[in-house]
Subunit: 372 residues, 2 copies
Amino acid sequence: MSRLRVTYRIRAGGEAEARARAEGIAYEQTVEVPPDVVPPGRIRDEIVGRIEEMGPDGEGAWRAVISYHPDSCGDDIAQLLNVVFGNSSMQRGIRVLAVEPGETLRARHPGARFGIEGVRRLTGRLRGGLIAPVLKPQGLDPGALAEIAWRCALGGADIVKEDHGLGDLPSAPFRARVEAISAALDRAEAETGRRPLYFATLPGPWERIEDNIAFAKAAGATGLLVMPGLMSFALSARIARDDRLALPVMAHPSLTGGFVTDPAGGMDHGVIYGTLQRLSGADISVFPNVGGRFGFTAEECRSIAAACRDPEGPGQPILPSPGGGMSVDRAGEMRAMYGDDVVYLLGGSLLRAGERIGEEIARMRAALDAAG
Amino acid sequence: MSRLRVTYRIRAGGEAEARARAEGIAYEQTVEVPPDVVPPGRIRDEIVGRIEEMGPDGEGAWRAVISYHPDSCGDDIAQLLNVVFGNSSMQRGIRVLAVEPGETLRARHPGARFGIEGVRRLTGRLRGGLIAPVLKPQGLDPGALAEIAWRCALGGADIVKEDHGLGDLPSAPFRARVEAISAALDRAEAETGRRPLYFATLPGPWERIEDNIAFAKAAGATGLLVMPGLMSFALSARIARDDRLALPVMAHPSLTGGFVTDPAGGMDHGVIYGTLQRLSGADISVFPNVGGRFGFTAEECRSIAAACRDPEGPGQPILPSPGGGMSVDRAGEMRAMYGDDVVYLLGGSLLRAGERIGEEIARMRAALDAAG
């Protein structure tokens, strides 16, 4: 039995306060009662979180490693997150810097089914960055989205991914859309001999998710896009664990901003978009790219890519997938920054090419290969 | 057809930048492509978000009301949240101040099945604050938790609620625990003629949730505790909509801290713990009380209670449930602050009473009634 270890940065006015806050976390995240009412014996000795290390971490902040018994986490990724940060997330000035699940929880959460190697095998792209155009905008009908998918496939896309906001909306209902896009990719395959992976956006409501998963698989989707911030990391885990389904998971960061916009709270970028995605079974982790519409810094983006690919991390290494403001013009810069084991999302800028969208993808391929 | 209206506070260096950021949100939350590639016609005219109002909001901030077409949201609460704040949550300095779903989406999301009136009817407590002791700590076995439940019932608890961290852990596996606690409450009912509502904490993993819901109902739980921050607001909605199940939902705020610790980002407390809980179908919304271990201010707590009970809000008014640092000594203060339509969580302090826990609950009842 090895314990879960979580590193927190804690703001405090002095060391005594920092230690008191760390002890507060150790109780809050487990027994959630004051120390004097914790039953003696195993609960006090093993279940209450344990401060393993503690030291200063810059001005007004301390770093504490607190360990937890795996029995506090059970076999549910959501309960594991509850132990890592559930209630403490609501206290000001506590930030999760690292999560090391330990061997016991690693065995319970084996992570990605495919990982980098598996996704490469599925796409046939064994070397070089993977190119993933995004099917959008919301409001297009299934036929129009399918035509974009077909052009992208002809242009050499490795993956076509639906925009995360396509849901199950009147303009392009989930089932009609998946069927149309899948048929378009079959057609492209007949023409080129190659079919890109196709990640369908998995919509709710809750009651229809199981049917939607089964439908997507049967209709020819070869991957699923999920949004853990909206639908739980437990959904990624449910898909990743399903041997019969055996579909790769792409995780989109919608509504996870609360974890990263408060520099004194939340979680480090590498934890939420790297470690936790890996633990929950995602094969590809989408995040907002530096220099696009979002405020993520180059350092933050690099830390995400590093956490996704760290050979020591939980489960298999997975593919980081920067999106937002990505374009052919930035291919060299992006290649230099992220290297080869990466899924490049191409969104709005690509649509500008209209009917020549396939040529844009071919240009992106050439630019990436030239930079490699 | 009425549009969803979301009020954002946007940080900017000047009005032009504020307007550009507001326009950015209108595109980001819908079509997610640059304006020049939005197809003309219905997508440009109706699907792209529309800036309805805009004005200054203190130094360096602007307030913008942006409206969205209900067709962007479908009938899934998670997709509605995706439109409200999905990608924009990851941009710095954007805060959601209000969500007004409009009639179309109100009809799709009817909200709480029971609400304040329904929960009162179920408990038989038609007037005065409701008292809800929490069964904990994590690590106790089912028998020990059941004994606490029994004593609480004898003491006059209106609701007994499991700690949100009980999950499905080796110390007190979900099924054994629910059976033991339910049997203890049956015994109390035989002694007193009264059985408190019993909210069981609904654990994952995802694959077992449906079975766990059915088991809880069959075994005698009369409510379910869910954590939307861990398992999605869609789970609350799934339970609330189930006519055959017909169980009230208590929503716990675990892992929602990211929405509220960044004063320039995230969401106002009343939105996340009031409006969204109502929209998703929760009957009771738990939040950290002022003056306890958490940093919520009295004003923030009042805004949550007001949003839960606002007669103009979506669905029925629901019960705010402040927890953390609640005790008999604070009953008068709490009664003055929150009034009667409230569920008072009693946690760690109560356990100090040991075998006299029932007497503590009776004291709380007397203190609340005296303050009323």
